[in-house]
């Protein structure tokens, strides 16, 4: 397998808060990789460092053999990395259609391609089609999560970064979201997934990392991590 995305010894700071202390993560082509960790462990920060929202002070982020450490977010996204951020962050005053159009900012090839993709999204999330002209801010939490996902998929990314896509969702929808992640991956896309619901995440992940206070403490296949004692105790809530 080819390495698609690689973080080496990344250190990221918020002011004087040292949030990532030498994190190294590797994601191969076609994998689902998950990051597991307690609150404040640095999962979100890792994703933000990849997509260029925060800058690492030291360390390197490579994508497809190219150094993207100091690239601006819009250049990184043009490379084919899509980030579904924590809290969904839909554009509240843009309609569903416009939200999707914004997602296709970097798509070349004109209206035709964009409307084809949009139709694909509507096939995947029929609910969105019903709401096509509704303002993003008035959607319910679950619909917003679908929109966030679809918006990211519009740019046909080679890597999808997902930050807690199930947070605040009704149980019935949580299942749906994981189903979709699986489908996306089966279609050949690579996924880096952050989830509090470690059980479900590890179930679908090929590999996983465990983060603790900004450091990677464990790395293994998803199945192996599920059996790991530390993981079971600390993150799966078992005693």
């Amino acid at each position: 397998m080819t390495v698609l995305l690689e973080l080496t010894q990344v250190h990221t700071y918020y002011g004087h808060i040292h949030a990532l202390k030498g994190v190294s993560v590797r994601v191969d082509q076609g994998e689902v990789v998950t990051l597991v960790g307690a609150n404040g462990a640095g999962k979100t920060t890792t994703l933000k460092t990849i997509s260029g929202i925060t800058r690492p002070k030291r360390g390197k982020v490579m994508f497809n053999g190219q150094d993207i450490t100091d690239m601006a977010p819009h250049h990184i996204s043009a490379q084919g990395i899509a980030h579904v951020p924590e809290g969904r962050r839909i554009f509240p005053l843009l309609s569903v259609r416009e939200n999707l159009e914004v997602g296709s900012w970097n798509v070349k090839g004109g209206r035709g391609i964009i409307s084809d993709r949009m139709n694909q999204m509507f096939d995947m999330f029929p609910r969105l089609k019903e709401r096509i002209n509704q303002k993003g801010g008035t959607l319910s939490g679950g619909e917003q999560q679908m929109l966030a996902m679809a918006r990211a998929l519009m740019m046909a990314p080679s890597v999808l970064l997902l930050d807690e896509p199930s947070m605040g969702l009704a149980p019935v929808l949580v299942e749906g979201i994981f189903e979709i992640v699986k489908r996306i991956n089966e279609a050949g896309n690579t996924v880096l997934l952050v989830e509090q619901n470690a059980l479900m995440a590890l179930e679908i992940a090929h590999r996983g990392y465990v983060l603790q206070t900004g450091e990677i403490v464990l790395e293994d296949t998803g199945a192996a991590l599920l059996q790991n004692d530390l993981v079971r105790k600390a993150y799966l809530g078992e005693t």
């Binding site: 997509s51 260029g52 929202i53 601006a72 977010p73 819009h74 996204s77 043009a78 899509a82 980030h83 951020p85 962050r89 554009f91 509240p92 005053l93 843009l94 416009e98 159009e101 914004v102 997602g103 900012w105 970097n106 801010g137 918006r151 740019m155």
Partner: protein, 397 residues
Amino acid sequence: MSSESLSPRQGGLLDPLIQSEAWQRFSHTGFYRFIVFPIGQIIVFIVAATVFLTALAYLVALLIPEPRPNIVLSDQISRQLPGMVISGISIGFVYAMVALGYTLVYGVLKFINFAHSEIFMFGSVIGFAFMNFLSSAGVLADWNPVVLVIATILISGIASGLLAVLIERVAYKPLRNAPRLVPLITAIGISFILQDVVRALASITINDFNLTYPTRNIAFFQNPIPVVIGTNEVRVRMTSIIIVIAAVIMLLALNYFVNGTKAGRGIRAISMDQATSGLMGIPVNLMISLTFFIGGAFGGAAGALFGLNVGNVTPYIGFIPGLKAFTAAVLGGIGNITGALLGGLLIGMIEAFLNGLLPYFPAIGIRYTDIITFGILIAVLIFRPSGLLGERVDEKV
């Protein structure tokens, strides 16, 4: 930033028409969305404001028929009505164009760009400089007036837009993470700097900073057009007509840009969430510069039109129109493009009516025009805390 929804609300008399299939199809064409609808909107605003203010004036005339001996208020109203409306519209469009600059920048960066009134002033000075250059080269009179106006608007618009971008890069961009009041202070600093720099340049080059547009010798601009309405004749100044035409064209273009193009969509996305916009691939800084450019260009073009209309500008003329335009932007709902247009027209019209009719009430007089205008603003805000067209962002908790 937001723009009014482009489809009419439901539940009105026009429902049968609106629901008809042909209309549905028509209302989604670009021609409707970017030409028919906005023009309709402008006309509706003007007519509504005129009707409302006129009705109010006659109501007052009914209550106080003879505010001063030998003055029958209703007669005066009908005599002055066309003049008041025309002057209200022409200055209203100037306010609207300046207000757009405030609104665009506010929409995207959520701060009041106080230096915008100096951008307006800069535009008026560039307009002067251009015409003065032609005049001293002796070719001013040879230019076709229409071409001359277009060239002046373009040049001062572009120059002012570039200046606005420069200011953004130097004085606002480094402060994008600072508390919102901080760029307000740099904006004030920039105002002082711009006033004095323009003054220094004017003083050095022509040793004077009262800049008089050389157009007063050109018949096209100078000779008023007599319009006979009923029994009385009003003289409409050519420059008023130019302002209205130019402003409408530019507003249509802006509406198209913001609501109909990809870049416009990008700017609107940035106004809601910069970081996420970056994630979507939108070049945030470029879009912010573009916003400043457009806002600045509108301000500058308005400045040139204003200069052309009043004939004489100085480095200090920005303040009052700037203040009124800011008021207009807030009245309409700051951050809302249609709101800026409505606010500008309303402020212009209210002012024209007050200035035209208050003189008949010697105890009040036009010295209270500003107080009444602000009073209206405050009243509107008390009942609509986000301005006339502002989205009521009842924050969801």
